[in-house]
Symmetry: C2
Subunit: 545 residues, 2 copies
């Protein structure tokens, strides 16, 4: 029997409509390419979005379902483009300008982008690919004045962004089937071509509602939100949706993610909430410490993208009185999966014990279901002593990659994350390793992440990578590559002593190698495949077996 | 183009699954029929729900889509029934035991209830209707021991609730189409038969997510929620869903809604959040004042159901440091439409000015859209000087009443609330009157609510009703009926003086009549139809024209 409720579709445009109707005077403050500050209200910006939507159809000739790319920083124009494109039943493809040129060519062609909205500074990247982008019909430069020379080398037309936002007649947002695609983001895998994750309107709205829950972001109209995580990274972790959904102010930093800029922005605009990767917050912490700085208005920071060290969490919480929301997710999950906040039953424990839980990946947001399975797919979620494959299910989680035929979900609709994880007795999920980074020694798994994190306890170690090397008896044995902190000289025995305090003997690496640097992908992920190729025979070649 | 996200349906059962998986040890504390206290964890209660779900199918022989009634207070068994029934793809029909007998017969037959879960104390109500409930196959008494005499007079079998919750084999919750019906609630209109509102799984889950937003309920796992609003009133304003969705504790008061009981419960279990109608909170306020009481753990109270006086809001906020969330809604809206909280731009105003806004109905939750239209259906939402018909739209708002063919929405999918409202410049909606209670004098509207509220400024007035009386010249003119406070003697000239301070002259009533009491419906609504019948000719008959 059907319920008799209204057929109201979950559309991204309804988020901005809500903001302009109920929080019309709240401000969006934005840095921009030329470093001036733009300040517009939700009422003003929503009108600009509808102007742009009109131009998408009537000037650029785009239709529902068309894919439009952006290559832009976190600024007000990029914010406008997201809503204008998604609200027009088109698909906004956020291109990460830090990808390798081959990857950028691949994803623009694979997505069949019709137009690209681009910062002036990224035009040179595109220029080298100008003749290899088959579907691209035109380029919109995020500026108010086109520079006539910047289209040199291109055969497709250039448009000035501000020309598309005129005083033309504008329409209301169309009603869109909530299962329609609205955003596309490619994951920069460490191997193979990037894979596209194609988000539905429904997924992004539900995800924004879920992360706004009180245990997680808990945003209100009293918040001022600074999205440090770039908008070309996994929907900027929903900040761009969650803030207008509750009438929060937005402060957009453009490309200025250095500690000095962030510090100034936070204190100038009384930012209360921010989100970004550990490296950004580590750098800011260092800045605060050396400049005797304070972030008095900031109440909470979401740290995610990669695991955050307990020491970083502690420093912000204890020294600066800022609550850290340690989050885990994947582009495939829209992206937030879990946040590590302290449950009521742990709140009476000493802070150092709580910190152990905060350093884990945490508790799923509502709408995310997790299970842990063993090698045979048997559910071992309730076994808090064994790790296994982390599987996730929910309305904002990928079912099939873009333009692939085969779904990536199992019979129960769970997506295999590729992570090895454990859920402790208190219900906190902890990532132990990427499946492909596990080291299998004599039939037993050894976690490369655990070895790496433990190596970092040594004050002289700046970065570490544990990988599997071939071994005639054990199949694989761990070896550890380390990079020294500036002006430090590392001694492998010394590192081994550090490891011995925390790691059982059979899991200790058979070799510790000091290197000058480790290879990374364009988005900063460690390229273990490269290391494996180079060091696979290390133990055998060096007679260390 | 479709997005490529998982097909994860919004099911009510996923709320309780989330609670048991992530907040398994959080407690539900419940008073019960015999006044003992039950305390179960989410883990335990969710298991009991699945046991009951098994019995619904295998003992009672119920099938997907069947309607099951409850006539019960706010206790743990009622909580279990809701999730067991809704989680089994059946429809939970909450019968209000305070309805008139004719109405109870009508709605049970209209809904075609197959079984009814009932408190022992309500059996006598049902007994008088025993032979008139055609579809009812059996009665489940909320007890652990059946009294063999209580089925006397019935021909259908009686079941003991606790017998249905055994140690039988139990299943996982089935996946349910989110558009399926899961709950049914009849509105007790002041005229005609009650109308059924049939909620979908999707509506109740989305509504719970929306009211949990940080500007509204903002529940977290640190909250302890006491739903004072009965579960037979409009889904208990979502408390029963919103609390488990974020792992909050629940404290269920059963039938004990008197101030002394609430006071004890709140302080015994450190309640932080509650929700109920103004009368309950007025009575508690009186109790606090006379007993020098404190509610130290309580941080916020949702007051709704009817408009809350500014003085009540002020007393709780100023004297007891409890934030009042003044809410407005309708059963037809699942039910929350708006909550009056103070927007950032008003937070610097003096408290007395803020109070004016708090006393209004407020700002819509995300997913609720509002507009105001004039007599001709023209949108006058942006005109903050004129009131009009309040129209609402959203995924948890009625489209069609149960078993009626004609949708109750306009071409743009808006439901006409029947209220006359205005939205002020700051975006706060304020109900001026029910459409049918407006008084039309010489083509101009006079608000009966405004007259009534103003009359209450007179310290001797306990209750007031303004209605339209026929007038040969003006069509209608207002007359005012007032009931005196205990031991007060009212003088109509005195009341008129009070009115004159606030009401423009042409809107003043042509007669003020002191009466002993005013007629009410079973749910306490003023029955103006009865008054109109009696007093329609009052001005003409008494030569007051």
């Amino acid at each position: 029997m059907l319920g008799l409720m209204q057929n109201w579709q979950l559309n991204v445009s309804k988020v901005i409509q809500y903001a302009q109707q109920n929080y019309g005077s709240q401000q969006i403050i934005s840095q921009n390419y030329d470093d001036h500050i733009t300040q517009l209200s939700y009422k003003e910006v929503e009108k600009r979005m509808r102007c742009l939507a009109w131009s998408l159809r009537n000037v650029l000739g785009l239709e529902r379902g068309d894919v439009v790319a952006t290559m832009a920083w976190n600024n007000i124009r990029h914010f406008e483009i997201w809503y204008a494109v998604m609200g027009s039943d088109m698909v906004c493809h956020t291109v990460n300008p830090r990808l390798f040129k081959d990857q950028i060519r691949y994803i623009i062609n694979h997505a069949q982008d019709k137009y690209i909205f681009i910062e002036r500074s990224f035009i040179p990247i595109l220029k080298t690919l100008a003749h290899e982008l088959a579907t691209l019909k035109g380029i919109i430069v995020l500026t108010k004045d086109l520079d006539p020379t910047e289209s040199d080398g291109f055969t497709i037309p250039f448009f000035c962004y501000e020309d598309l936002i005129g005083e033309q007649s504008i329409d209301e947002w169309p009603e869109i089937d909530e299962n329609n695609a609205c955003a596309l983001c490619y994951t920069s895998g460490t191997t193979g071509n990037p894979k596209g994750v194609c988000f539905s309107q429904r997924a992004l709205v539900l995800h924004a509602m879920a992360v706004n829950g009180g245990n997680f972001y808990g945003l209100t109209h009293n918040d001022t939100v600074l999205p440090v995580v770039p908008m070309f990274h996994a929907n900027a972790w929903s900040n761009i949706f969650s803030a207008p959904m509750c009438g929060a102010k937005l402060v957009l930093p453009d490309r200025h993610l250095d500690p000095q800029s962030l510090y100034t922005l936070i204190n100038s605009y009384q930012v209360t909430f921010s989100a970004g990767v550990p490296t950004v917050w580590l750098a800011l912490l260092d800045y605060l410490n050396t400049h005797n700085g304070q972030l008095k208005t900031m109440t909470r920071i979401v740290i995610g993208g990669s695991a955050c060290a307990a020491s970083t969490i502690e420093a912000y919480e204890k020294q600066y009185n800022i609550k850290i929301l340690h989050a885990w997710g994947m582009t495939e999950m829209s992206p937030i999966g879990t946040v590590s906040t302290i449950k009521p039953e742990l709140q009476n424990k000493p802070y150092q014990e709580q910190l152990q839980f905060k350093a884990k990946q945490g508790i799923p947001i509502f709408t995310v279901e997790m299970k842990i399975t063993d090698e045979n797919g048997i559910n071992i979620t309730d076994d808090s002593t064994h790790s296994g494959h982390l599987m996730v299910r929910g309305p904002a989680i990928v079912a099939t990659y873009f333009k692939q035929d085969t779904p990536v979900i199992d019979d129960d609709n769970y997506f295999k994350t590729g992570d090895i994880a454990i859920i402790d007795e208190a219900g906190y999920m902890q990532i132990r390793d990427r499946t492909k980074d596990l080291i299998k020694s004599g039939g037993e798994w050894i976690s490369s992440i655990e070895l790496e994190n433990t190596a970092l306890f040594h004050p002289g170690v700046a970065e570490a990578a544990a990988i599997a090397a071939d071994h005639p008896k054990w199949g694989e044995r761990p070896i550890l590559l380390v990079v020294a902190e500036k002006e430090c000289i590392l001694d492998d025995k010394d590192i081994l002593t550090t490891l011995k305090d925390h790691i059982v003997k059979w899991q200790l690496p058979d070799a510790i190698i000091v290197v000058d640097e480790l290879p990374h992908t364009a988005t900063g992920k460690l390229q273990k495949t490269v290391l494996r190729e180079k060091y696979q025979m290390y133990l055998i070649d060096n007679n260390l077996i």
